[in-house]
Symmetry: C2
Subunit: 145 residues, 2 copies
DNA sequence: TTCGTTGCAAAAGGTTTGCATACCA
DNA sequence: TGGTATGCAAACCTTTTGCAACGAA
């Protein structure tokens, strides 16, 4: 998954200061972040990147399968770089945003069998798990988003 | 789950023409509908209900657990009355919007075990399945939303 | 030099809110 | 009558787009 997905690849990919900055910021985020979060972080650290460019870069990463996307209750999109071995599902803490990947083989298999049984084709699935992590539970941290 | 959930219940619930109309329209919809769809339908059928009221009613139904909510690619929310025996997961056709409930016991159990294993509490899950139904596949209906 | 990329400003699209009015209980 | 519900318009938020200027190859 480094540099040669078969589909959805733009014909060219010009390397620019801005894209490098967005990628770096994304990689440095331990958890899911929004376009706004990234932009704010970039601005704070002196990298001058337009919000539009952040969105465009994220959209491209999404199309090429380099990031996982999850949706907030509000509809806001949160991004996280996708691990090399395919898509993952995450359990996200509603208070501090901590996320950890979970083993989802069970769900993957189930989704496949549903697809096979219903006559639907091209079945895709989105799964979002949220909860309160042990740390926040003991600290009573107020909800973040 | 008919009329006495323990939490999130508004202190009062005044019965009005508008709320009755929204509820009726929601019940009459075979599949998931957006606030806009409902409002358009209501307007077309002569019921005069403000879009704001449609939103407020849906939000209240969501809080009290009377509807299932699913999110469109765009972030738009789609609603559907929840069956009496608890929440459900649906497989929705990306072309015509046809939805059918799927047996999701497997997923429910898996989610419970993940909750137990991770130290997270109050774990909630959202699962969205989309595909192309047999009918649309043969008809080549263009994407609707 | 060429053509993809950037960034501002503005548009778009969906949802929420302020506030005066209407109406149920 | 009291307090909730309604509805219009405007505010809000996130994401996308038009377009002129910029810069990597």
């Amino acid at each position: 998954m480094d540099d040669s997905p078969t589909r959805g690849r733009p014909p060219s990919w010009r390397s620019t200061r801005q894209r490098a900055a967005v990628l770096r910021a994304l990689r440095d985020s331990p958890d899911f972040v929004s376009a706004n979060d990234l932009h704010a972080g970039l601005t704070a650290s002196g990298a001058n990147v337009g919000l539009t460019t952040v969105y465009r870069t994220l959209r491209m990463l999404e199309r090429t399968g380099h990031v996982d996307v999850v949706r907030e209750r509000t509809g806001e999109r949160l991004y996280r770089p996708r691990p090399a071995d395919g898509h993952r599902h995450y359990l996200v803490c509603r208070r501090c945003g901590l996320s950890r990947p979970v083993d989802s083989e069970t769900v993957e298999h189930w989704a496949d069998s549903v697809a096979a049984a219903t006559g639907f084709t091209e079945v895709e699935h989105t799964l979002e798990l949220t909860g309160v992590c042990g740390h926040c539970r003991s600290q009573s941290v107020p909800p973040q988003r």
